[in-house]
Amino acid sequence: MTAQERSLTVAPNPAYAGTAIADEVLAPTTKTAKPPRSRWVFVWWIVFILGVLYFILPLIGTVLFSLRDRPFLNAYTSILGDPQFFASLGYSFIVGIITIILSIALMVPTAYWVRLRMPRARPIVEFVTLLPFVIPPIVLVFGLISTYSHPPLPFTYSDIGSTALLVFAYVVLSFPYMYRAVDTGLRTMDIRSLTEASQSLGAGWFRLIVDVILPNLRVALLAGAFLTLAIVIGEFTIANFLARPAFAPYLSLLGSNYPYQQAAVAVVSFALTWIAMALIAVVGRGSRNRITVTGTR
């Protein structure tokens, strides 16, 4: 496929194909221009500031509490001085990345297939993806242990097996978020045209998903990735009962009768997770060629 063939464009929403608006919207753009109305900007600033205030006040509350420890900043120095803190955080981070990759690999084709070929299956698939919300995590982990702690699939017999089981459990936990994010992203694309065009150009399924669908899902995949990483880093029950050296079980060892340290830990892990998200965002920004497809007007 030449560069020329790659640069095809179309209005992303099929509802507007062939309408006057679509004619105005020929140029592909990934940047959103600023609207000219200053009146509206004022309103959005208010909305934003209110939101920020709401988010930041509880964090301030936690920080203020953690600073009550004596000597000053003791809560922070004692955590950051513990190598186990970073080791367990690193473990959870890596597990998180693997979970994200596996989840995307599973969910994107599934959501794509449901949208394109099997709309009838949508309720079933959505129900299954929402199930993790109502299955108590302790039931999930004990169910997994009971099933996979003996032949034919003795995951728990080895470290790597237990970690694999953890990843699989986390992929399950990410189902609702990843599916919803991918589905939202797919809605903004005309996947029918994209598929037909790509296939008529000779692309196979794999090529289609990886080179055509995925790049257009960048925003959605980032959202799903953030949500999944947050879940993995914060998840306690499953990691704990599977005896994995993850972050949340390590935190629980700190003990609840060291309250200032606990508060400091909450703040530090919040900050570190935020940095991890930012890293993912940078990686995700990448320089993929966005392939979109021109329809006929």
Binding site: I138, S149, H150, T156, S162, A243, G255, S256, N257, Q262
Partner: protein
């Protein structure tokens, strides 16, 4: 597709049923300590569950065991509940990995669920039936020192320590420290008193209600006065419906909480005067809560499990619990033998006269408080 999925599920179940369930294993008798130590060291690992480091100084207990025998300890779920410990054994019956607990430390009320001898606790609506045998009998070397009322005659479970229900107060916020349940009703403590949990979920909180009952004309068999007391406390506006922990005591949100004496004293130590905390046992009632030890019948490391028990019930182990402000079960025997250092004895509040309920009383009280709490004290649905 659905049929295939169903077959897979069914097939897995058949497999699970066929290969599940190991027979309870017997172990070496307490007499052959050297053999036990050797075998335990060969196993090299021990898996414990629900042992917070700050609870009865388990931190030192775990460290001491590893230091003495070189056996690595794998700690599961430090903040776990007794129910989770029992369920963990059940889920891991065929698992030899580090997810299967070797030993458990649960509330006395859970004894029927683990021995397979008595019917399971009749929680509301539940049909009692034979329980599973989840633990295996083992009598430690110092078995004779454990009072008869605190152990199963066949050795399935044995009491380890107990604490007394106390009132913990943040004295930086509360100037006049309450010393009795009657004090707590005083209007000056408006919005300041809390329990350490939900009485339908937390043994500690349930015991708080039970102690209140004893302090207000009830008895070990009658918990209604306790429920009535908390209704009064709630109506007066003194009761705060939030889980009180060290954090909320320290922040001043729940400057007064009902908790086990060892937790309160542990807070006093860990907070180091920031803020200052005082722990008082209510003068009207001294209620004791006992926990029990047991070795899992499906323990992947049966020898290490038994060695751990031996360690905890040795003089060294018992004194570590005492250091954690928990009254070890062999306290009387140790005291008679003069083995308790005076400074340690002074730190723990005087436990003479502590009332310890029997298993039957615990079962009954649990049911009554669990049933009565939502209706008597009531859930606030504003």
């Amino acid at each position: 597709m659905a049929r295939l999925a169903g077959l897979i599920v069914a097939g897995t179940f058949v497999l699970a049923a066929c290969s599940g369930g190991g027979a309870p294993s017997g172990g070496p008798s307490a007499g052959n300590m050297d053999t036990l130590i050797a075998n335990a060291k060969k196993e090299g690992n021990l898996t414990t569950i629900a042992l917070p480091h700050g609870w009865c100084d388990y931190g030192d207990m775990l460290a001491g065991f590893t230091a003495k025998y070189g056996i690595k300890i794998n700690e599961l779920n430090p903040d776990g509940s007794s129910a989770q410990e029992v369920d963990a054994i059940k889920a891991n019956k065929t698992n030899l990995g580090p997810q299967a607990p070797d030993v458990i430390d649960v509330g006395l009320g859970f004894a029927p669920q683990i021995t397979g001898k008595e019917p399971t606790a009749a929680a509301s609506g539940q049909t009692p039936g034979p329980a599973e045998t989840l633990v295996t009998p083992y009598k430690v070397a110092t078995w004779a020192d454990i009072p008869d009322s605190a152990k199963d005659p066949d050795g399935y479970w044995y009491g380890d320590y107990f604490g007394v229900m106390a009132i913990e107060t943040n004295t930086a916020v509360v100037k006049t420290v309450p010393k009795t349940f009657k004090d707590l009703l005083d209007p000056k403590y408006k919005g300041q008193v809390a329990l350490s949990g939900d009485p339908t979920q937390s043994n500690q909180a349930m015991s708080g209600v039970w102690t209140a009952s004893l302090a207000n004309g009830g008895s070990l068999d009658n918990v209604q006065p306790g429920l009535d007391y908390f209704k009064k406390l709630n109506d007066a506006g003194n009761f705060v419906p939030v889980i009180a922990k060290t954090a909320t005591v320290a922040s001043g949100e729940t400057p007064i909480r009902l908790t086990w004496s060892y937790n309160g004293l542990g807070d006093k130590d860990s907070l180091k005067g920031n803020p200052t905390v005082e722990v008082n046992i209510p003068t009207e009632a001294k209620f004791g809560g006992m926990y029990i030890q047991a070795v899992s019948a499906y323990a992947p490391h049966p020898n290490a499990a038994r060695l751990w028990q031996e360690y905890m019930y040795s003089d060294e182990g018992q004194l570590i619990w005492l250091k954690g402000y928990c009254v070890p079960i062999r306290y009387d025997a140790l005291q008679k033998a003069g083995k308790i250092p005076a400074d340690l004895a002074a730190k723990v509040p005087d436990s003479t006269g502590t009332v310890l309920p029997t298993l039957a009383q615990i079962t009954a009280a649990t049911t009554n408080i669990a049933k009565g709490w939502p209706t008597t004290v009531g859930v606030t649905v504003k």
